[in-house]
Symmetry: C2
Subunit: 151 residues, 2 copies
């Protein structure tokens, strides 16, 4: 007779653990492709927002990436030192720091196109599974925003 009292404490019965492990494993698969454009994964997703918006402040960027200034400030300084973005305070409200895409950052977009193309072959999910996964993940992220608002 097995004792099931502690089953809830088994790794294999966790949902968070495969999420955590999967996230890291997939980011590792990005690495060889990202190395070619000299970006880390976090820098890459920050640049994705920049390529879409050209200009954004730290708060808004943090909201889109679920990251705070503790992570973003050094990351943006790093991207600035690479010449990909510029950082300056907003004229209207000096509290806001405006991050802008530079010409060099804009040019990197062309080379970055290869990344999703090459990653596409790396995830062997059926289109249906990919959509299902996507929907569940955004459902989880969405409810998170609601519970965050409650505070």
């Amino acid at each position: 007779m097995d004792d099931h009292k502690y089953d809830a404490l088994k790794i294999e019965n966790q949902l968070c653990f495969p999420l955590y492990a999967c996230s890291r494993e997939i980011i590792k698969r990005y690495k060889p492709f990202l190395d070619e454009i000299d970006l880390t994964y976090t820098q890459y997703i920050a640049m994705m927002v920049m390529w879409e918006q050209r200009e954004v402040n730290v708060k808004e960027l943090g909201k889109r990436l679920y990251l705070d200034s503790g992570t973003l400030t050094p990351l943006l300084k790093k991207l600035e030192s690479k010449g990909l973005v510029s950082r300056k305070r907003s004229r209207e409200d000096e509290r806001n720091l405006i991050v802008s895409l530079t010409e060099e950052g804009e040019q990197l977009k062309e080379r970055a196109l290869a990344v999703p193309v090459r990653m596409a072959g790396c995830l062997n999910l059926t289109p249906k599974e990919a959509v299902t996964l996507y929907e569940i993940l955004y459902k989880l992220l969405g409810e998170n925003e609601i519970s965050a608002k409650k505070e």
Copy 2:
């Protein structure tokens, strides 16, 4: 007319991004519960393996958690300093470091039982969604092992 050339570089079209964000957001939700037993999330999943096996070497632990010695060595030293595990070299093969659950570590298991109980109410997925998510994530993790073996 929209230009779709760069669509693959949009955050909203990524699968990895919600995975990465979701993983971190859910780990954040664990924090208040884990604080009560003074464990970080990584320490918690390491302890889960210990509670299941009582004894494990670093390599095997790393395989179960998808972590390497660079992460585990300091983590295990931390758990040792808390008195939850002991670390000693294997008699048969001195290369192996054997991590063992202490009496204190064993006792923590009782208090840890509250963590999954309290987390259960935090993820508002239907049972079906939870199972689907679980299966897709392990499929992704599984294929990763295959591609790792190829090297």
